[in-house]
Symmetry: C2
Subunit: 652 residues, 2 copies
């Protein structure tokens, strides 16, 4: 098989320097244009804007009252009130109206006495010249410079431009970015049918939509071209037609890595130059930067990987800064805060890695819980609060040491979020949704590390609450024993969330005839387990033990998933025959459910937060009828005691 | 005259509480709709979004290589390499492709040896189950909640929605805000002719454009209605037709204050209820909040003042938070930083005042220089870096004490700006523009307080540089004496900017026949002066003194303006017959110029910043040919020594 080989990996900074330097030799960017003010919002000023008109354009009243010649009033005082004759040396005037000829001051209506017949007004105070007058040019004098290049036009700038008579400001043209999706197996998102997707025959193409959005947000224009199959000639033809259609920049997605169907690099080399291939960046490594020459025009081109997270990271790293340069701007950087990773974050030396994390502000310290690091895991971006970069020369970051994180949400949103670390339950997402609806300021971020992990995080003061369902095998009581063991010194309250049915999730019709715990030890049954420290795993071990069954009898005992839903997905896909999980997960994915037992799922909340307004809001939510009804409809939940405080632990 | 009277003034918080409570009784907002993903960017999620598809939808290869059943490879090791047969128990696979039936792992191509004939591949390492496989549902499991209500859809969220097959998410409808411009004297901006503007016969209407922009940015939809004249019936008809056209909210601009032509309040009272009239907020005091009833529908209505700054402040204070509430969001707040006002900021007790300021970060401290406080001064917003609020119970803020300021630019932009305080010269704006063009990170903020004020600000370490042209009457030398007197202990360098011609600005044709300094003492000549401490005033005093003329002979000596351009505008408008200023100001406004003398205008830069990269960039700019050519074309400037360091002062 013929395979592409990466040029030596470049760091993101090196890659930018190489590509941008070459581009600067070719072009200054897409130039400028004049747009009507109505369409100027969010465009970027290209030339210093000189005022065409003065504003105000005349001397006008700044208050309602009478216009006078100030010198006529100099004799007025409390002891010597002055009468002015309306229409002769005093003229009624409203705010904004021009001063009558000869007048140079306004006396406010509140400071006047009007005679009965309205013919005279009396003032007890002299007016000084230009009092309450908006003078010509007070705001803007024609010809002065109003706005500098690089300024983005917002509502305030539109006001200044309009006042200065600049009705068609000169702005940078939007760079036209042609996005060419490539790949023989991809189909437009709207045409992707579920049955074809499930068989893996096709992949839905939606990166073009995602990338268009971020290009538009950065002031570019996206031109999504038809999908090109994995055929060098077709890719080449697509590039030619994109450039002929006026592209300032071509973005190929994907085909830039080193697989047997990755023709991007080869095609670009044949049409121009590959300047960079391979970046020491994860996700984003297989990106390619170069230029192509079409009909005398040399145009920058970029190839990005097919995984959505890689594609986005590469575009944010290289394409958005180029759009900023073309607009004489600095690429907006996200705000950074110092955070403490809850887990160690190992990383491959030599690669700069961007790790998506959720954040929680606990007692003034911001803790980071890593999300999935897969380049295909698009929810690791949509769920993320921030991105941590592990530097190239590092083998990873230690838990507990502060690092900088780029914020994807506002500081206030982070500060108003509750962080729950612990066991997963499907109701947690509904608590978040309902909390945001009833208290839009607040939200619930949850990270799933199992019940025990949650208690340990509480102990280290890394979260505000923990979901837990840890069975004491001796007493059959939930959570209390584990809390006494792990939370010494941390007084907490145990708030009941739900009782839930745990059981075996099986394919519809239960083809492997699993009816009891003993059945999962059969040779023909492949099991999918939950991770160590999870309450569900404790329950499984307990059920095995009380029947005298060894874990070694369970095929797949070591095959782990982190959530009920992922266990359900493993069963649905045939990866396993069964796994232990809640009934709601079976209901959600249309699986059958073999009841094993009912367990208690509680929230463990430190006393320190008992009066925290976010916790009070959360308690309101779980005690509401709306929430209970929703949970009941999910199947397998008993909510008759939801929200009750079961136990107060004094930490001793 | 009949006049409206304000209801008792309400604080912004009280006003919001009253209005929002009433609105909540009437409506939840404009409801929800489903939009195609292509149009979903920046919309706000209205219902918890459940995934419709799992992603990946199948077990697929996460790497290029061969797919195998892991169990088949368990015997492989370095000492015991294992040969697999392509097509039988090993299958070539590219990233993203589905695993063949029976396979559960991928071995990367890099870790394989391929036999010559390609029929066999050899591995020296066992594969573990699910190695390099993207498992079904690894990212998203169908039915799980992906996004919560109140989340704004960006590119990351579009990726998650697309991957989960949610092609028409449920979002909040955009609130339709009808903007009704009122006023008999206003005409649409595009139709406003300069000659009519100058006579004060008309006012250009552009608030609707400004307010539309900020309403759209906040997720609303703006429907700009035709201008309604100042006639109660016409205003009423405009409201009725706006509501009938589907408005969720009506915004009247202006007519809400208490002038004789302000009918808004009266009209609203006749159609519904006026809940608040008059806010203890400056600018923004004359705002009105209420509801109107049209054909059984009760709709919120708001009246805002005609001054653009007041209108914007009132809309930001009341309308934008309402749009946020309707979208179950929190109105985004601007970031706040601590700043130190360079000047005292007196304010009327009982009124909350929003003061627009420019900022400069000097030695780690952020200084604020106030801009014009006029409600009509729209450039006080476009030039502002931040807004300081003086609380209602305060008589103002002292200079030197830290206060909070809401940032209108990013912290980084503030940190990269040079702050010049001192004398005004028309070239300063060109330095800023040119600096931004050549060094997009940097900018120059200038505040004009006169030459002496600049040196005092330098002395207090409140700015990075000062423009100065202070003549020593004894020696005829510029700036050195003043620097020695005021900057003891602050070593500076004196960088020459320009020599410039100062003279009398007079109407074209010089109708008052002003040829010499003596002429401005004539009884028939009205003068316009510059403020105390300005170099131009020092020059005037010097010229008067050396001719033995008293300032009391100059009519208008006490009438002050702060910039050359404002002096020119005063002459152009007939407010004065002449004033002293630079030739460039005369050239800019088409005035004639009577030469008085050439003066030196320099930049005073502390040694402490001599190596600051922003200062180096500024020196690059003023030493460039582009800059010199531009300045020369402005008229009256000699640039032959621009950029030279004239003198180094050691602070002793």
């Amino acid at each position: 098989m013929e395979r592409n080989v990466y040029l030596s990996l470049r760091s993101p900074e090196e890659a930018r320097a190489i590509w941008f330097t070459r581009i600067a030799e070719l072009t200054d960017g897409p130039g400028t244009e004049n747009v009507p003010l109505e369409e100027a919002a969010h465009r970027v000023i290209a030339e210093p804007v000189e005022a065409l008109r003065s504003s105000p354009a005349f001397h006008g009243a700044a208050m309602d009252g009478i216009a006078v010649r100030a010198e006529d009033t100099f004799s007025a005082s409390t002891r010597n009130p002055l009468a002015l004759e309306v229409g002769k040396n005093a003229f009624w005037i409203n705010t904004g109206q021009p001063l009558p000829a000869g007048c140079n001051a306004v006396i406010m209506v509140e400071n006047l006495n009007v005679e009965e017949d309205g013919k005279k007004v009396i003032t007890e105070k002299a007016a000084f010249p230009w009092q309450h007058v908006r003078k010509l040019g007070e705001d803007i004098v024609a010809t002065e410079i109003l706005l500098a290049p690089g300024v983005e036009i917002g509502s305030y700038e539109i006001g200044a431009l309009a006042a200065a008579g600049v009705l068609r400001p000169t702005v940078f043209r939007k760079a036209q970015v042609a996005i060419i999706p490539t790949g023989s197996e991809i189909v437009p998102l709207q045409q992707a049918r579920d049955e074809d997707l499930c068989r893996g025959k096709i992949l839905p193409e939606f990166n073009s939509l995602v990338l268009s959005t971020c290009i538009r947000d950065a002031g570019g224009q996206a031109d999504v071209r038809p999908i090109a199959p994995d055929v060098p000639e077709a890719i080449k033809a697509a590039i030619v037609s994109a450039v002929e259609a006026g592209a300032d920049l071509v973005l190929l997605n994907a085909g830039s890595s080193a697989g047997s169907h990755d023709y991007t690099v080869e095609v670009v080399r044949s049409m121009g130059e590959v300047l960079v291939h391979g970046i020491s960046l994860m996700p984003g490594k297989p990106a390619m930067l170069g230029t192509v020459s079409v009909a005398e025009r040399q145009v920058p081109i970029m190839g990005v990987p097919g995984y959505p997270v890689s594609a986005l990271m590469a575009v944010e790293e290289f394409l958005l800064p180029l759009l900023a340069i073309w607009q004489k701007r600095v690429c907006p950087k996200r705000e950074c805060v110092s955070v403490i990773p809850c887990n160690p974050l190992p990383s491959r030396p030599g690669m700069e890695e961007r790790i998506r994390v959720r954040l929680g502000m606990v007692d003034g310290t911001c803790f980071a819980v890593p999300l999935s690091r897969g380049a295909g895991t698009v929810t690791s971006l949509s769920r993320a609060d921030a991105i941590i970069t592990v530097p190239r020369d590092s083998e990873g970051l230690d838990a507990g040491n502060p690092v900088q994180a780029e914020l994807l949400r506002s500081r206030r949103q982070i500060a108003n979020a509750l962080l729950a670390i612990g066991s997963h339950d499907n109701t947690l997402e509904y608590i978040d949704s309902q909390l945001r609806r009833t208290h839009p300021r607040f939200s619930l971020t949850s990270a799933h590390v199992g019940s025990l992990g949650g208690l340990l995080a509480l102990q280290r003061k890394q979260c505000h609450l923990a979901g837990s369902h840890l069975l004491d095998e001796e007493t059959g009581v939930y959570n209390r024993t584990a809390i006494r063991e792990h939370l010494k010194g941390t007084p907490v309250m145990l708030v009941h969330l739900v009782n839930r049915e745990q059981g075996f999730l099986v394919k519809p019709g239960n083809p492997k005839e699993i009816h009891d715990v003993a059945d999962i030890c059969r040779d023909d049954v492949r099991f999918i387990n939950r991770q160590r420290g999870s309450g569900t795993r404790v329950l499984l071990d307990y059920e095995l033990k009380r029947r005298g069954l060894a874990v070694s009898n369970v095929h797949g005992y070591g095959d782990e998933e982190y959530t009920h839903m992922n266990v359900a997905a493993a069963v649905l896909s045939g990866r396993a025959d069964t796994g232990l999980g809640v009934r709601a997960a079976a209901v959600a994915l249309g699986l059958d459910f073999v009841f094993v037992g009912t367990e208690e799922y509680d929230l463990v909340i430190p006393h320190a937060y008992a009066e925290d307004e976010r916790i009070l809001a959360l308690l309101d939510v779980i005690r509401s009828t709306v929430f209970r009804n929703k949970v009941q409809s999910m199947g397998g939940y008993d909510v008759s005691h939801t929200g009750e405080i079961l136990w107060e632990y004094d930490g001793k």
